[in-house]
């Protein structure tokens, strides 16, 4: 029983992490049709910026309490900035050429981890976090790490914020229309570029937040962390139905749980295999993902 509880709780935590990573990806993919391979890089930038701030380089920031919150905010801000720069410098000049946009992000995805590893070394760095979050709490006999709760909370907040953004503002609409026919959107008198940049920035912010909290989750940061999370984020995005944020949340939880249970109960830890098989099966049965939104 305790094992099942532990697996379920940590599976949810893992799902929350996947969702945090996938949310921005899903947003950008769903609205802009850009499968952003640089998402992992943005994640890593967020993680390193948070780590840098939390290990005492930023005045006021630190590894505990308000200092840590400040560090996370700083990391998110840096990641957002990076996303904006990325959009302005690479995505914008390539509007209307979706394949090239994707490829440009592939290039960034290669270059950024290499740069990080050139500056801070290829090794993992311990990630300072508040002591309050490093303990465990008991639940039905299982000892569950506290930071999983933080992840779950953050995931819920991000989900809510993205839904509000999409539901209450015109930007989502503008970007979706812009992907279909940019010229026509401008011909309606709308500055579609601003909306694109904004969406990219929000996606980047979500990625960076995911990176910062991922550091907490793993207890360390390393240059390849973002990229290795990316593949599961893809799985989640696609399973969730091509850019449906709610679908991504659902898929993230599913993937987290399946992976955790399969890892534990199959003899050789076939969790990730189970996940990709699940993805393939789902796509073959329902090519549009769980929520069935347009591919």
């Amino acid at each position: 029983m305790a094992t099942v509880v532990l697996l379920a709780a940590t599976g949810l935590g893992l799902g929350a992490l996947y969702f945090l990573v996938a949310a921005g990806l899903s947003l950008i993919f769903g609205l802009m049709d850009v499968l952003n391979f640089a998402h992992g890089a943005l994640l890593s930038i967020g993680a390193y910026a948070t780590w840098w701030a939390a290990s005492g380089h930023l005045p006021g920031a630190g590894s505990g309490g308000a200092g840590f919150v400040l560090a996370v905010c700083f990391g998110t801000a840096v990641g957002t900035l990076a996303a904006v720069v990325l959009e302005l410098a690479l995505i914008r000049p390539l509007y209307g050429r979706p394949r090239e946009q994707v490829l440009a992000t592939v290039g960034v995805g290669l270059a950024v981890p290499a740069l990080l590893s050139a500056i801070w070394g290829p090794d993992a760095r311990p990630f300072p976090g508040p002591a309050a979050l490093s303990g465990t709490f008991g639940l039905l006999g299982a000892r569950i790490p506290v930071n999983r709760l933080v992840l779950l909370g953050a995931a819920a907040v991000v989900l809510l914020a993205l839904r509000l953004f999409l539901g209450r503002t015109r930007h989502g609409l503008v970007v979706r229309a812009g992907v279909e026919d940019r010229a026509m959107v401008t011909a309606l008198g709308i500055d579609v570029r601003r909306a694109f940049t904004l969406v990219f920035a929000i996606g980047g912010a979500a990625a960076a937040l995911g990176g910062a909290l991922g550091g907490l989750y793993y207890g360390s940061v390393d240059p390849g962390q973002g990229t290795s999370l990316l593949i599961f984020a893809f799985v989640v995005v696609v399973m969730g139905g091509m850019g449906s944020v709610a679908g991504a949340a659902l898929a993230a939880v599913g993937v987290g749980l399946v992976q955790q249970f399969a890892n534990y109960y199959t003899t050789s830890g076939l969790g990730d295999l189970a996940v990709v098989v699940l993805l393939a099966a789902l796509l073959l049965l329902r090519p549009r993902g769980i929520t069935g939104r347009l591919a």
């Binding site: 290499a114 311990p126 207890g219 890892n263």
Partner: protein, 387 residues
């Protein structure tokens, strides 16, 4: 001008460039200057230069031959390593050393045999390199030596229950196999294993699984970036407090990654600065420090490689790799870790190993030597030399 296909640029054999019988010897170093193992590559190369300086007494010459070192980056990619090695061999290099990555080393070794050049593998720990062929040697330790050291920490493993916690990869499986062989059939312990997928994000359940097996000794063999998550999980689930946990001590950068668990774990160590405590080690530490480097886990691997090359040239001559190999077989010497020997039968490098504890946390974490195991205590099983 034209030449025979594929031979352009190779030195004409028996050529006249052997001035006064003391032609330079080319040594090619293929190692990771970039890529995931770049940090290890740096340790290796720093150690190598210090070792070369030490073994040639600062002259850069062995047996009158100048040692000319060419460095090539393999970026952890076997294809690049093979291309680099072919370039070197094509240019007439007779001695190749290096590589941190076991996969790369295993591809270079056959190449060395095919082309009759001496190959001295770097920190690659795979046992498969031992006894692979007549031209292949190693300058680092192999997994068996790690495991024998771990066994020594248990103080007699007979009848005890050992659980190996590792990743489900070739590296992990090799460790399990080695533990079964050394501690299981060799010393009568019951060996069980918990294999986590290498890419698993959350290791808490595996920590839980280990705990539920109630072992006397947990041997953790872990590679890669998820180490901090593992140690956090082991600490949180109370594994490190309820049983004896042993693992290998990696480089300086990894000390803080053990977090709170660090002080509760017993370490076996291939090497850490200060562990050797002998004049050769001192020479190595000084040499590296003088060149602006930092001595670390794999410094001795580079240092020893240089020692072996210098000996091979001095005793085996500058031109014939087979003679060089002969000269190395059975050679005993004083290395930075202590008394070392190249086992004649399978080219295993017999060497002392260490056990240690970690004191302090974060940046202040530092290993303390517990014991020094002489090379005889950690003799890897003998292998039949292939081909």
């Amino acid at each position: 001008g034209c030449s025979k296909a594929g031979t352009a640029g190779s030195p004409s054999s028996g050529g006249g460039d052997a001035k006064s019988g003391a032609a330079a010897v080319d040594v090619g170093l293929v190692y990771s200057r970039s890529g995931p193992l770049a940090a290890y590559g740096k340790q290796y190369i720093d150690g190598f230069h210090a070792g070369l300086d030490y073994a040639t007494h600062g002259t850069g010459k062995a047996g009158g031959h100048e040692i000319r070192v060419t460095e090539q980056d393999d970026a952890g990619d076997p294809a690049k390593a093979v291309a680099a090695a072919k370039t070197l061999i094509g240019k007439g290099t007779k001695i190749i050393a290096g590589t941190t990555d076991s996969g790369v080393a295993l591809q270079l070794a056959p190449l060395a045999a095919q082309n009759h050049v001496l190959y001295i593998a770097g920190p690659a720990a795979t046992d498969a390199l031992t006894g692979l062929n007549a031209y292949t040697f190693r300058s680092g330790r192999q997994s068996y030596q790690d495991i024998l050291t771990a066994g020594s920490l248990l103080g007699g493993t007979g009848g005890k229950k050992v659980v190996v916690l590792t990743q489900n990869s070739a590296f992990g499986q090799a460790n399990v196999a080695a533990v079964k062989e050394v501690l299981g059939s060799g010393q009568g312990a019951t060996v069980d294993s918990v294999l986590a997928p290498p890419s698993a994000g959350d290791l808490t359940p595996f920590a839980q699984q280990v705990k539920s097996k109630k072992p006397d000794l947990v041997f953790v063999a872990w590679a890669g970036a998820s180490a901090p998550a593992l140690w956090t999980a082991l600490d949180q689930q109370g594994v490190v407090t309820s049983t004896k946990v042993v693992t290998g001590l990696a480089g300086i950068a990894s000390y803080p990654l053990f977090g709170a668990a660090g002080s509760k774990v017993s370490f076996l160590a291939h090497y850490f600065p200060g562990a050797g405590n002998n004049p050769v080690e001192k020479a190595m530490l000084d040499g590296i420090a003088k060149a602006g480097g930092t001595p670390d886990l794999f410094s001795p691997d580079g240092f020893t490689a240089a020692q072996m090359i210098v000996h091979a040239v001095e005793a085996g001559g500058a031109t014939d790799p087979a003679a060089m190999a002969k000269a190395l077989e059975g050679w005993s010497f004083q290395g930075p870790k202590g008394d070392e020997q190249v086992r004649a039968a399978d080219h295993a490098l017999l060497q002392p190993m260490f056990t240690a504890t970690l004191t302090g946390t974060g940046a202040a974490a530092e290993p303390q030597l517990v014991s020094r195991l002489p090379k005889e205590a950690v003799n890897p099983p003998m292998k039949q030399m292939a081909g």
